[in-house]
């Protein structure tokens, strides 16, 4: 039985990578549902999206971080070599089941939208020395002061129930979509160093000085399962799409999408820690060699030390969800089979760099469409993607990646991602 699962696992892993390598997919997603209505119409869809990247951690290392495995020195060295004074890394993963449907009164004008969605986002902005401390330890930095200023790490997981409407013929051809979400906050870890944070390790290893200017916010740690309620919140998605005539090409479509515009109120069992003091540790003071028992080592307990140096406070608090903005303009040429899209994406409060991209697409026939994707920014640097769409009268599929370079050349590229969606069209 175990062998069977292992074989299956290997097979599917192989299949997945094989298909990725064959560049078998097309369209970008950007954490939005409205922008696919133009392809699926009213439908029931299952959608998932993963994207991870960094300006200096290559895809091979990101793979290890997210999918497990040993991160060796060679991998760490490559990332260190490419690191800047201040760096970024992030990943998001979300999946949902959603549907668009219409009533009999206004089937051409309004579609209603319902979705259940889970989102996971982790992002970090950090100094080179923080990276060194994290992946090499403090020994290589002995004799120096590691700069930790403005380093932050954030992880947020939440579940949403979305309700919305898509007005399909605003001013005859524009579309406006609005949805509201009820949010179940599941997990939050927010860790941020202030501008004065640093860590000094003496060259003789006999003193550590931690300028501990930091805040930590953690949701209820006793409830870690995905369905457990640690916070409640609300958010809104807004979508606008309009075709227009332009000098370039035969026709253009401009879309603006803002989603995850909201907040989460984390409940009372959440904990905040904060400290702003210089902590100097030069060893526990002993009065006898016999004091060096296990009790001394037991004192060096991360949890208790952390609690000792910080002001821990339990209580409720609010956080904003990283809001996602996408501007996209698509120009169709010739017989409308070829199009060229230009886009801009930004995620607010998420260590995200403005991301600009272009997507040439070709509609081969009524069933197939392929898209290329070239972009720069975001969590990684230069991205190349490919996606494919296939549809019939009843089904719509697409699958792709905006970061193919991470799968093909993991040791020299800095992004990783994939997405897919399967939709059953409604009559």
């Amino acid at each position: 039985m175990k062998n069977f699962f292992n074989t299956t696992k290997i097979f599917y892993c192989f299949l997945f990578f094989f298909l990725i390598i064959l560049q078998s997919n097309v369209f970008s997603q950007y954490n939005s549902e409205f922008n696919f209505y133009q392809y699926t119409g009213n439908a029931v869809s299952l959608k998932a999206e993963f994207d991870a990247g960094s300006n200096h951690i290559d895809a091979a290392m990101v793979n290890q971080l997210f999918f497990g495995g040993f991160i060796d020195k060679e991998m760490k060295d490559r990332a260190l070599k490419k690191s800047l004074a201040y760096n970024r890394a992030g990943a998001y993963f979300n999946y949902n089941l959603h549907t668009f449907f219409s009533d009999r009164k206004h089937p051409d004008k309004i579609s209603y939208f319902i979705a259940a969605k889970q989102q996971y986002l982790v992002h970090a902005g950090y100094t080179r020395q923080f990276y060194q401390l994290l992946f090499y330890g403090n020994k290589p930095l002995a004799g120096t002061t590691a700069n930790l200023a403005n380093t932050n790490i954030n992880t947020i997981t939440f579940n949403e129930l979305k309700f919305g409407m898509l007005f399909k013929k605003v001013d005859s051809s524009a579309k406006i979509g609005i949805s509201l979400s009820a949010i179940q906050g599941n997990r939050l870890i927010y860790f941020a160093f202030g501008k004065n944070s640093s860590l000094f390790t003496s060259s003789s290893y006999d003193e550590i000085v931690f300028n501990s200017n930091f805040n930590v916010t953690i949701s209820d740690t006793s409830q870690k399962k995905w369905y457990e309620l640690n916070g409640i919140g609300a958010s809104a998605d807004i979508y606008f799409e309009t075709p227009y005539k332009s000098k370039l090409g035969k026709m253009s479509i401009l879309s603006v999408n803002i989603n995850n515009f909201g907040f989460i109120h984390w409940l009372r069992n959440s904990v905040k820690y904060s400290t702003d003091s210089v902590l100097k540790f030069n060893g526990y003071h002993i009065n006898s060699i016999y004091d060096l028992k296990d009790s001394t080592l037991n004192k060096i307990n991360a949890d208790s030390t952390f609690k000792q140096i910080t002001n821990a406070r339990k209580g409720a608090f609010n956080t904003n969800i990283p809001t996602n903005l996408i501007l996209y303009n698509k120009v169709f040429f010739g017989n409308m089979k070829f199009s060229l899209g230009f886009g801009f994406r930004y995620i607010f409060n998420a260590n995200y760099k403005p991301y600009v991209f272009t997507e040439p697409a070709y509609q081969w026939d009524s069933h197939f469409q392929t898209n290329f994707h070239i972009g720069y920014g975001g969590y990684s640097l230069f991205n190349v993607g490919f996606s494919i769409m296939y549809q019939t009268s009843n089904w719509h599929f697409y699958i792709g990646s905006n970061n193919l370079q991470g799968w093909i050349l993991p040791k020299v590229s800095y992004g990783q991602g994939f997405f897919f969606m399967i939709s059953k069209k409604l009559k």
Binding site: F11, N287, I289
Partner: protein
Amino acid sequence: MLHKKILWFIHILIAGIFFFLISCKKNQLAYWDVDLVSPIARGTLNIKNFFGDSLFQSDNAHILHLKFSKKVSDFKIDTLVNLPDTTINYNFIALFTATVAPNTLLFYKAEEINFQIPNDARLRYGIVKEGKLKVEYTNTTRQPLLFQYELPSATKNSSPFYITEIIPPGNTPTVKYYSFNDYELNLTGQSGNTFNTIVHSFTVYTAPNAQPDSVIFGQGITAKISYEKIIPQYIEGYFGQQEINIPYDSAAIGFSKTLEVSNFQINSASINFHLVNDFGVDIQGQLDTVKSINTTNGTSVLLNAPPLNIININRATKTGNWANPVNSTTTTVNINTNNSNLKPFIENLPEYLGYKGKIKINPNGNLSATNDFAYYNTGIRIFADIDVPLIFRANYFKLQDLLDIDFKNVSQLNNVNEGRVIFNISNNYPFKVKLQAYLLDENNNTLDSLLLPSNNSIEMAYVNSNNDIIAPRNSQLIAYLSKNTIDNLKKSKKIKLVSYSYLPPSPPDIAIYDSYYLDVVISVDVNYRTIVNN
């Protein structure tokens, strides 16, 4: 047909992605190794930190002295004199048959009790701290009897001790206890000029609730009266001439249990035996056996000190203050290297002090005119004040000790791949130290050692020709923690620390000053596996 195949293929593809996410993403750990360094502990240690702060004092020249006081013997009041448990039986029997009404006097008797106190002790007065009077009554008449018992010699707040009981008829004895606490005892009898004697009286009536009835010849009441466990708060009189043996016993000194010294020679030493007398009696003492016992070596040295053979101790006097009633007298006998063999006695490094002797009470008779006294919780105490200046010569000291450890649950160790514990030591003592730590299992089997023999020496401080320190010297000891050593550390239950301190060649003798120290900084340098659960 083509579309069906494509649809089938896409479904397989989606399933593949789904399984990939489940099988590849979950329950996988990302892990990497980091090199961590940190200080662990530090301290400025001196000889007091190893043997106990209370054992050492500095003199005016800042030379440390091993100086401490041990109580070697203690006698309390009960050793000296006490009121023995005393039981007296009384039978009040009708000599003829008669009909009696309620409240009829049947019997009356008043007499003295003499406590039989040995050694010709003559007690005049006492106060009872604790004590009980036990009475077993048996009423063989057919009616209840009223029993009244009075002790005019025992008073509390000026009222005599008094019992009144109605004893029901029957052959089964009725047992009653009465507290005797805090009563003052006049032990001079009815005449007022005897000793060890109290006066009591009995009265027996028919009870007020009795029926008129006949008391038949041979019937009556028996009373068995016992004075039990009388503990005096204070006692006065003449305690007699008596010899009290101090049986052989030993007192732990407790500092040198794990210390061995090669060719140890001290410069000087002294022991002051202080004999503190809280009793109002003259005493003559003798400590005929005082032994230095070293169980590690199995050696003992008998102290040959003539001043300990006869020690005259004067009687204490009263202060008149009940809270602190005694002016104790202290007699000091000084034993030193001139009037005894104290040098080899101390050089034997005693773990225990063995002693035996005797004391003689009132060696010259009743000089106090029957005014000896003793208070509860006071007595005779013997202290040995030991003073050894730390000026000595020796080849080396070996110090060994076992410490209980349990690293099994120290989670920090689980992810350590390998490492080092670094001891940076500044030695300001005039000796070189070789150190080793052995890891032992629960059966004291050695599992591992922490220091390499080639790197376990703390070098001696720089000294001049007098063996006085000029400057401290730095050394670094490194304990290597291989994976195997870490495993052994987690398995071990005890750690055995063994140190050899090698002294410089002498003469001159080494003097240990209070300014000497050992500065220790302990750091770790470990390769640690960081594991992140996605």
